[in-house]
């Protein structure tokens, strides 16, 4: 049973990272008005919100599974306070910070109208840092961090994220045709 928590920790971590990258991509495509003509922008926004919520849900399951795995050395303190883990201290720290950033991003999206747009935007953009930290956390602490399959997947997701970010930045620089 303990092994099951270990496998669940690893698999939910990988899926949460992929979902976070998917949320990032759909968000960038939506905000850069680069969503094509096949789907309406509302569709992309809906999907972006969903990806973000599910990524947070999988992150919670990931944290819970690592807490239940008695061999992981993760207790309540390590789950909530960065830098308290004895093994892979930096890696766990990145994971905890990424979890907080995801949570802040998702929970500030609901009362968006109550926040000032600029503040909301800054808070929302911290999720990009969260995704980067989540990838770093997986690379440094994950059992699969050194396997070819994991490295290839990490490079692929990073490339997709960078592509979406590039599209967004390009939309800021290049004026849209009307």
């Amino acid at each position: 049973m303990n092994n099951l928590w270990w496998y669940a920790t690893r698999s939910t971590g990988v899926v949460a990272t992929i979902l976070a990258v998917a949320a990032l991509m759909s968000g960038f495509f939506f905000s850069s008005r680069n969503t094509g003509e096949r789907r309406r922008p509302a569709w992309w926004l809906d999907l972006h919100n969903w990806f973000g919520g599910v990524a947070l849900a999988f992150t919670v399951v990931h944290v819970l599974a690592s807490y239940l795995d008695s061999n992981s050395g993760i207790g309540l303190l390590q789950v909530f306070i960065p830098g308290t883990a004895r093994d892979s201290s930096w890696a766990i720290t990145w994971g905890v910070i990424a979890m907080y950033l995801f949570a802040i991003t998702v929970f500030t999206s609901w009362p968006r109208k109550r926040l000032r747009p600029r503040l909301w935007r800054i808070v929302h953009l911290t999720s990009v840092v969260g995704v980067v930290l989540a990838g770093l956390h997986g690379f440094q602490s994950g059992t699969d961090g050194t396997t070819l399959m994991f490295e290839a997947g990490l490079v692929a997701t990073a490339a997709l994220g960078v592509y979406a970010a590039g599209v967004r930045v390009l939309a800021l620089v290049v004026p849209r045709r009307t």
Partner: protein, 248 residues
């Protein structure tokens, strides 16, 4: 009340049809109390499902993403468990004793840092044609290593099973079975490797404690166990013929 619409649209088939449609829509919405006569022929409000779909335009994509995420999690969990099981099986098989050359091996005390081990082929036991003797050749500054025991190794018969060949090697020290090595075992598929990783150490410990081929089969590894026992018995027979042991 129900006769009112009929009288209103009497003679006009198009109106009658529209009224029928309106009544149908009202029934579908569960708005049975509303009189068709009081209302106009305005379009009915959209059903609940349509309103929900408008609130979540990417409803199908969301469900698809959730399903893919859950399936990926399950698949990865299975993959990790499978990889771990294979790794454990390989470790268990690697921990099995090594096969030695058939014949007589004279083992000596471990050489000291000054001692240089040297292997010289020699027939040291009568009746064993392919015997080799391994001794430690001491340097003048180091004390001589004392031979501890002579180990005689016999390979059993190669027994073919449905899943692959099985062959064991028995090693005798002072007439007793001191070790059982496995020369060949089914490695054709991952399942066989896993089964053998569990069965072979069990069979080995059974042989070492029983000092004979009278051992129990391992459940779930019947083919391997039977072939193991047959190969083991042939090795014991060879050893008995060579005078290495009187047991078995």
């Amino acid at each position: 009340m129900s006769t009112q619409p009929l009288s209103k649209s009497a003679g006009d088939p198009l109106l009658e049809r529209l009224e029928r449609l309106e009544r149908l829509n009202q029934r579908r919405d569960g708005n049975a109390g509303r009189s068709p006569a009081s209302g106009s022929l305005s379009p009915p409000p959209p059903p609940a499902q349509t309103r929900h779909a408008k609130r979540h335009p990417a409803r199908i994509a969301r469900l698809g993403a959730l399903a893919i995420s859950c399936a990926t999690t399950g698949g990865l969990t299975y993959l990790f468990a499978d990889l771990n099981a294979s790794k454990s099986a390989n470790q268990a098989l690697a921990a099995l004793p090594a096969v030695v050359p058939v014949g007589v091996q004279i083992t000596s005390a471990p050489p000291t840092s000054a001692a240089t081990p040297a292997t010289t082929p020699a027939a040291t036991a009568a009746g064993v044609p392919s015997a080799t003797a391994t001794t430690a050749a001491p340097t003048p500054s180091a004390p001589a290593a004392t031979p501890v025991a002579a180990v005689q190794a016999f390979n059993g018969q190669l027994v073919n099973t449905e899943y692959g060949p099985v062959q064991v090697q028995l090693q005798f020290t002072n007439g007793a079975i001191s070790e059982v090595a496995i020369v060949a075992y089914p490695t054709g598929d991952k399942k066989s490797v896993r089964i053998n990783a569990r069965a072979l150490p069990t069979l080995r410990s059974e042989v070492l404690s029983a000092q004979s081929a009278q051992i129990d089969t391992v459940s779930g590894a019947t083919y391997t166990s039977d072939a193991y026992v047959r190969s083991l018995q042939s090795a014991i027979d060879q050893a008995r013929a060579a005078g290495a042991t009187a047991r078995g």
